[in-house]
């Protein structure tokens, strides 16, 4: 046999180690909410599942433990694919509970199957300690260097704002946007800024036909995520007396990131009956 000449692990010992690792990982991915714990646990689960499948299919590590370990990673990803397909076709759906439960069961079953059907010694990717230390050291250097390289690229976020109708922009058909001649129409708009905080909306205007409303009621929209902040306004305007297509216009003037005034406009067709 070629490959690094490290004595293979006894099947019983390998099975016990692997099953303990699968159980602990399964418990973590199922119940623990911290990603810094669940991510390594998921990695261990996937790798042991793949290694067990490799052992089941190939038996002993034929080309050394690196061969078996890397093939185990590849087959672990295939195991994830099989789990996804199973959950889809079984109708159970791909959700956290189903994935964690099915993956844990499949990995444990494959460890047991590998031991039962492959009584010969199993490598399963266990590397000598000096290789593990070298791999951990290299991974640490890569992560640190990569983090610095990412941080170097960090650039200021874009600054922009989005002005939108909130009503009746949701109307999806002409029928829903029909109004009676001379009727009061409720109109509202929303302005969100990204990358800066809108301090002031000194002026806004809503028009429908001849009716013009200025200085409408303006309220601040609380910041929800990132640097998203903004203002919301609404008003009632009177529809024209003439039947046919008309246009609601909203124009908003606000203070930009460097203190300069900015205007944005939206408009929508309504249909006067």
């Amino acid at each position: 046999m070629r490959g690094n000449r490290v004595a293979p692990v006894a099947p019983a010992k390998w099975a016990v180690y692997s099953l303990i690792a699968v159980l602990i990982s399964a418990a973590i991915v199922q119940f623990v909410p911290f990603v810094w714990l669940t991510a390594p646990a998921a990695g261990v689960l996937v790798w042991i599942g793949g290694s067990a499948l490799a052992s089941l299919l190939l038996g002993n590590h034929q080309r050394g433990r690196v061969f078996h370990g890397v093939l185990g990673l590849v087959l672990g990803i295939v195991v994830m694919l099989i789990v996804g397909l199973f959950l889809h076709y079984s109708g159970r759906g791909i959700s956290h509970t189903e994935v964690a439960g099915t993956m844990s069961f499949v990995c444990a079953a494959m460890v047991l199957a590998a031991v039962v059907f492959r009584r010969e010694a199993i490598g399963a990717g266990f590397l000598p300690m000096r290789d593990v230390i070298a791999a951990v050291l290299a991974a640490t250097v890569l992560v640190l260097a990569g983090s610095i390289a990412v941080a170097i690229q960090d650039r200021p976020v874009e600054q922009f704002e989005v002005l939108s109708f909130t009503d009746p922009a949701v109307a999806s058909s002409i029928e829903e946007r029909q109004v009676d001649a001379g009727a009061q129409v409720f109109v509202s708009w929303e302005l969100h800024s990204f990358g800066y905080e809108v301090k002031q909306v000194p002026w806004s205007q809503i028009r429908l036909g001849d009716d013009q409303t200025t200085k409408v009621d303006v309220t601040s929209v609380p910041s929800v995520a990132d640097s998203d902040s903004g203002f919301r306004g609404s008003a009632r305007v009177r529809a024209p007396e003439t039947p046919g297509a008309a246009r609601i216009e909203v124009t908003v003037r606000f203070v930009g990131p460097t203190g300069e005034p900015i205007e944005r406009q939206v408009f929508m067709a309504v249909y006067v009956r």
């Binding site: 034929q62 993956m103 922009f160 969100h192 028009r207 036909g209 124009t251 205007e263 406009q265 939206v266």
Partner: protein, 643 residues
């Protein structure tokens, strides 16, 4: 494990014939690769700041070479042990994925990445596979990528994007390790394996294209492992072990066809080639197998036949049962590109593409890009002659893989054809496995005509030429480097503004059908989940903005019946021509031209378009195309100023 004796190919190559400096110490390697990775990050920052191209290209290559060269030395050094070579190859593979990771670590940026990211999000939203995809419709029939991404995301708690990228990069490293075993298996030398793996890791697709978050980036590594398992099976005399290897390969083949159509085609082609060579090659030998049982062709024939039959049955089953649209999807690429190549050969004008046209790449990188295929061509000529001369001593599997690698050369020509360029680019990652065998053989082939010193210098220079030339020939500048906003590229036209507009539209109106340009569409589909119109000659959706009149009644009717109720416009399309030359695909009537500003401004006065969302650069219009020809009672007086 029973394998053939190494004596037969030991005469074909001499692992000691290549002299290299002693393997550097591990701490030196780690220090240099850390410096190299940080330097690559600096080059990306310089590119993003809009610095001169020659500056950020130079810094990039300083970083790449300082990170990769010491590891390459460690992998191929004559004094390295097999395990050290393998670990060094693994490290080389991991580092070769870093430029792409650093290019966009937190969000999709390449065209296909948006499509697969959205597919994964939709799988998680619905809990089921086979979700429709607006950007690449065929992705719906190949749910392997979104399935593994969703499962890893749900298991690990990592963000969806990071989950996908993690899978791609783990498989990228694993695939290059597979090449080690392929070449090692073919030439019976771990040093040859290390050389082959490193040559493969610098193929034109490896550093950027095959490390993007997309289905081929996953399956290309399944492909490599299938070949690795096949090579091992072909050389195993123990039937039980051979069946185990073949079964593992078929499991990977099933994963391949569930994930990507084109990889299935390349794998079929490779298996057919290997089987044909396994059938024919022994008849060219002058001895009988009875004389040399270790070169018995039966295991090789059996291996490739079983793999081919098993895989073709799997493909046929999947395509018939789950992905019947695949054949219609792929057909135009083959027929179209052959016709276009024919036109180029007959010099029919503007049919073809101009390589490196309008490129900002430094002249030295362009020179290396042009030199790389020439260099490989010369090497290939040496190999053809050498194989024929020593044909009695070659395994048919090694010859078959080299023959498969030769497809690289005609495939380079297809890069000139618009329809064939994508296929050609995708083929390199597959055919280069044969090139890896060829390169390892040539570097380690004993020859009295060349001293070891000359050979070592040529190997070093060849490595640098191939690395720089191949990466330069892989993808264009906007794909490789970040940079200032530029209209008309998949990567640099992306903005948080477009992403937020997509999300705002989804929040207001739900996931709707949208007409928009080829660049804004990526963000709208990925983040808003909107269904984007795919303009064509039969569905010229570009008429909404690319002409100064209302759309034709035929188009209006198509948009109405298909419920394309929204139009999204980026006004910057009127400020400059698209970098890619089009705003609405290759049939755009205003190819290479910016959209006239008047075309966009008239959208503010036509009755059939209502401006419902606006930002500094983007406009979202609600379309009511049954109002074409009507007028508004009161037009905007613009008392408060325009937007």
């Amino acid at each position: 494990m029973s394998t053939t004796k190494p004596a037969q190919s030991a005469r074909l190559i001499d692992p000691m014939v290549l002299r290299t400096p002693a393997a550097p110490r591990r701490r030196t390697v780690l220090a240099l690769l850390a410096i190299g990775i940080v330097t690559i990050g600096i080059s990306f920052r310089l590119a993003a700041e809009g610095m001169p191209a020659v500056l950020y290209y130079t810094v990039f290559w300083v970083g790449m070479l300082s990170a990769l060269l010491p590891v390459a030395f460690q992998a191929v050094a004559a004094t390295s042990a097999r395990r050290d070579r393998l670990l060094a190859v693994t490290l080389f593979a991991v580092i070769s994925g870093f430029p792409k990771f650093l290019r966009n670590p937190f969000a999709p940026s390449y065209h296909d990445e948006y499509a697969h990211y959205r597919a994964a999000i939709d799988v998680l939203d619905t809990g089921h596979l086979f979700v429709p995809n607006a950007l690449i419709p065929i992705v719906q029939s190949f749910p392997g990528t979104s399935a593994v991404t969703a499962v890893l995301h749900l298991l690990s708690g990592l963000p969806v994007w990071i989950s996908g990228v993690t899978i791609v990069h783990v498989l990228h490293a694993a695939g290059i390790v597979a090449v080690f075993f392929i070449v090692d298996g073919c030439l019976n030398s771990s040093r040859a394996g290390a050389i082959g793996a490193i040559v493969y890791a610098i193929n034109p697709s490896a550093v950027y294209f095959s490390t993007q978050y997309a289905y081929e980036s996953i399956t290309i590594n399944y492909f490599l492992w299938i070949l690795a398992l096949g090579v091992l099976a072909a050389r195993t005399l123990d039937r039980r072990r051979r069946y185990g290897l073949l079964l593992t390969a078929i499991v990977l083949g099933m994963a391949t066809i569930v994930t990507h159509h084109l990889t299935a085609l390349f794998l079929t082609a490779a298996l057919v080639g290997l089987l044909v060579v396994a059938l024919l090659w022994p008849s060219l030998r002058k001895w009988r197998t009875d004389d040399r049982p270790q070169l018995n062709p039966r295991p090789e024939r059996q291996t490739w036949l079983v793999l081919l039959v098993g895989f073709v049955l799997t493909v046929a089953g999947w395509v018939t049962w789950a992905a019947p649209a695949t054949i219609d999807y792929l057909r135009p690429y083959f027929g179209g590109s052959v016709v276009e190549l024919n036109s180029i050969a007959r010099d029919d004008g503007d049919t073809g593409r101009r390589l490196l046209a309008d490129s900002v790449q430094p002249i030295w990188e362009r020179a290396f890009t042009a030199a790389a295929p020439v260099l490989l061509g010369l090497i290939a000529l040496v190999v053809v002659w050498a194989i024929w001369r020593d044909r009695n001593r070659w395994y048919s599997t090694a010859v078959g893989l080299m023959a498969f690698g030769m497809i690289y050369f005609p495939a380079v020509l297809f890069i000139l054809a618009p329809s064939g360029a994508e296929g050609a680019r995708r083929s390199w990652g597959f055919t280069y496995v044969g090139i890896a065998v060829i390169a390892a053989f040539v570097l380690l082939r004993p020859s009295e005509r060349m001293s070891t010193r000359t050979r070592s210098w040529l190997a070093g220079v060849g490595f640098v030429v191939l690395l720089i030339g191949n990466v330069g020939g892989g993808l264009n500048d906007p794909y490789r480097f970040p940079g200032p906003w530029r209209w008309g590229t998949d990567t640099r036209s992306a903005s948080a503004e477009a992403r937020i507009v997509g999300e705002a539209l989804a929040a207001q109106a739900g996931r709707v059908r949208v007409v928009t340009d080829a660049y804004t569409s990526l963000q709208l589909a990925a983040y808003g989940g909107h269904d984007i119109a795919a303009p064509s000659l039969g569905f010229p959706a570009w008429e909404l903005v690319q002409r100064d009149d209302d759309p034709s009644p035929e188009l209006a009717q198509m948009l109405l019946t298909s419920q394309y109720n929204y139009l999204v416009v980026d006004v910057r399309m009127a400020e400059e021509a698209a970098f890619n030359g089009h705003n609405f695909g290759q049939h755009d009537p205003l190819l290479t031209l910016p959209t006239p500003k008047e075309n966009l401004e008239r959208l503010d006065v036509v009755p059939w378009a209502s401006l419902v969302i606006t930002t500094e650069h983007l406009r979202v219009y609600r379309l009511d195309l049954q109002l074409i020809g009507q007028s508004i009672n009161q037009s905007s007086s613009n008392d408060g100023g325009g937007s």
